[in-house]
């Protein structure tokens, strides 16, 4: 099967000299649910943003749906971007607008400048947005300001906006990092179910190892800008975890270890 996404030796140097991605190569096919794990600063966010060129890369090539992204500009770039839905840790909604308006933003990539500027969405799109909100259990909030929602609800609006794009690929940068455990569970289940139903490939940056193990079909471990693990959850053994995080599994569990507690007490 044709890969949806292909990285060929992609590198990223930030202007301040940080080498965030070092010759990363990978392929993603339809229907995959991939978790990217790795310690803070390992380049997870950079990897995700390189896909739709929110960050320009410094070397290598990114293919999306059979076309290169790295040399696109203007219209071509926007057409590539609309194939990729994105979900953010901080939801990134326009809080002064209604929930429905935020969901409809997902259609902007398909509209001409004039219609988009004045928010003249098609009736068909509006109906689809309302249906989507219903599916996510948010229909009664359709006309509330986005700022009135709780964190978990805001993230569901973020999902709806991404799905409205009718994407081939969904990117999620720490989608549950600002949520409580029960909202986090809802969001992860929604992400898995909605992408499976629509056959959308999904890449999720995660800090929670257990969540990654539970939901993914494939896990990619990043360390210092390099892929050090790429396999199924079952293949992710303790040795691999130590290679990714540079510390043993027990140390990753909060409060799991007595020495850890002593350490945090010292820091406080």
């Amino acid at each position: 099967m044709e890969p949806i996404l292909k990285f060929d030796r992609v590198s990223k140097h930030y202007p301040n000299g940080v080498h965030a991605l070092k010759e990363v190569s990978l392929e993603v096919t339809e229907g995959e649910f991939i978790s990217v794990i790795g310690p803070s600063g390992s380049g997870k966010s950079t990897l995700l943003r390189a896909i739709n060129r929110l960050i320009p890369i410094s070397g290598g090539t990114v293919w999306l749906d059979g076309q290169t992204v790295s040399n696109q500009h203007g219209k071509g770039l926007r057409e590539q971007r609309r194939k990729v839905g994105m979900i953010f840790q901080n939801y990134n909604l326009v809080y002064s607008l209604s929930v429905l308006q935020n969901v409809l933003h997902g259609r902007l990539g398909y509209m001409n400048g004039f219609q988009g500027v004045f928010g003249l969405y098609r009736e068909k799109d509006k109906r689809e947005a309302l249906d989507l909100l219903k599916e996510l259990g948010l229909e009664q909030f359709s006309y509330n300001r986005a700022s009135d929602l709780s964190g978990g609800q805001k993230q569901r609006v973020g999902i709806a906006r991404a799905i409205m794009q009718n994407p081939k690929l969904l990117l999620c940068d720490e989608p549950i990092a600002s949520l409580d455990p029960s909202s986090a569970k809802t969001i992860m289940e929604l992400l898995r179910d909605m992408t499976q139903k629509r056959n959308i490939a999904c890449i999720v940056n995660l800090h929670q190892l257990d969540v990654a193990l539970k939901y993914s079909t494939r896990i990619i471990g990043l360390s210092k800008g390099e892929i050090v693990f790429d396999g199924t959850p079952a293949q992710l053994n303790d040795e691999m975890i130590e290679k990714i995080y540079g510390t043993s599994r027990e140390n990753l569990m909060i409060g799991g270890n007595d020495d850890d507690k002593a350490d945090t007490a010292d820091c406080a």
Binding site: L54, M86, Q165
Partner: protein, 266 residues
């Protein structure tokens, strides 16, 4: 024998002392350079008081035939301030989009836009008025342009700062859906910053009410010019009435815009 316990840190106390000494020295030097002497003020105090009590007080009403003219000149001043601020705000909005690195499609040029605005702003409206009067002649239109230039420059800076304060997250997310620059502006920046923009606009109206009175005095028309003509005609008591009228106008406008701003920022 007990040592007194200090209330503030020693070095902070020293800092205050140094500041006080510097302030006194500066005052002395400046008084010497400008030949200003507190004593002259006290010595000439009588003349000054005489002027105030004899010439200015009590305020007198002008001839009743003149009153409608004066009131309409107040309206001219208000209209001048409002229209100049409005036009300046619209222009400033479009220019400010290019003055913020995070928003502008040409981030490298943002510094120059801001620099240009800062340059314009640092020349007071009164100076602009004089420059324009000497090249274009006096009149309300020229006063309008002078006010426009300064409030435009001021609002460009204020709008850029408003946009930088508002989180850029939503702009990023619209970039990710493939929205064009005008779409990002109208769908993310404008809704998030509108209340901030309006608040700065109202603040600018407040400032321009005062500025348009002064620009009027040097030839821009309106109540400023009326006031100036009475002062030149030595009719100080009538001038005082007009000054009181101006004060009332400024206070009313301040109250209204202040209320509105509070409403908007809620």
């Amino acid at each position: 024998m007990t040592k007194r316990i200090p209330l503030i840190a020693r070095d902070l106390k020293q800092l205050y002392t140094v500041f006080l000494i510097v302030a006194i020295v500066l005052f002395a030097v400046c008084s010497y350079l400008t030949n200003f002497n507190v004593m002259t003020l006290i010595a000439n105090g009588d003349a000054f008081w005489e002027f105030i009590t004899e010439d200015f007080l009590p305020p007198a009403l002008p001839k009743s035939s003149r009153i409608p003219g004066i009131l309409s000149s107040v309206l001219v001043t208000l209209a001048l301030a409002m229209s100049a601020t409005t036009i300046a705000a619209i222009l400033a909005f479009f220019v400010s989009l290019f003055g913020s690195e995070k928003v502008s499609p040409f981030p490298k040029a943002a510094k120059f836009v801001r620099g240009f605005a800062t340059f314009l702003r640092n020349i007071p409206a009164l100076v602009w008025a004089f420059i324009l009067f000497s090249s274009l002649g006096i009149g309300t239109g020229v006063g309008f342009v002078a006010l426009c230039i300064t409030s435009f420059a001021f609002m460009v800076r204020a709008f850029v700062e408003t946009m930088e304060d508002v989180s850029q997250d939503c702009v990023e997310s619209l970039q990710a859906v493939g929205a064009t620059f005008p779409q990002r502006v109208s769908q993310a920046i404008l809704p998030s910053c509108l209340s901030g923009f309006l608040s700065w606009f109202l603040y600018c109206v407040e400032i321009n009410i005062r500025a348009s009175t002064i620009v009027g005095m040097v030839g821009g028309g309106g109540v400023g010019l009326t006031l100036f003509s009475y002062i030149k005609g030595f009719q100080y008591d009538i001038a005082l009435s007009i000054i009181l009228l101006i004060a009332v106008m400024v206070i009313v406008v301040d109250q209204v815009t202040g209320k509105l701003r509070k409403e908007i920022l809620k």
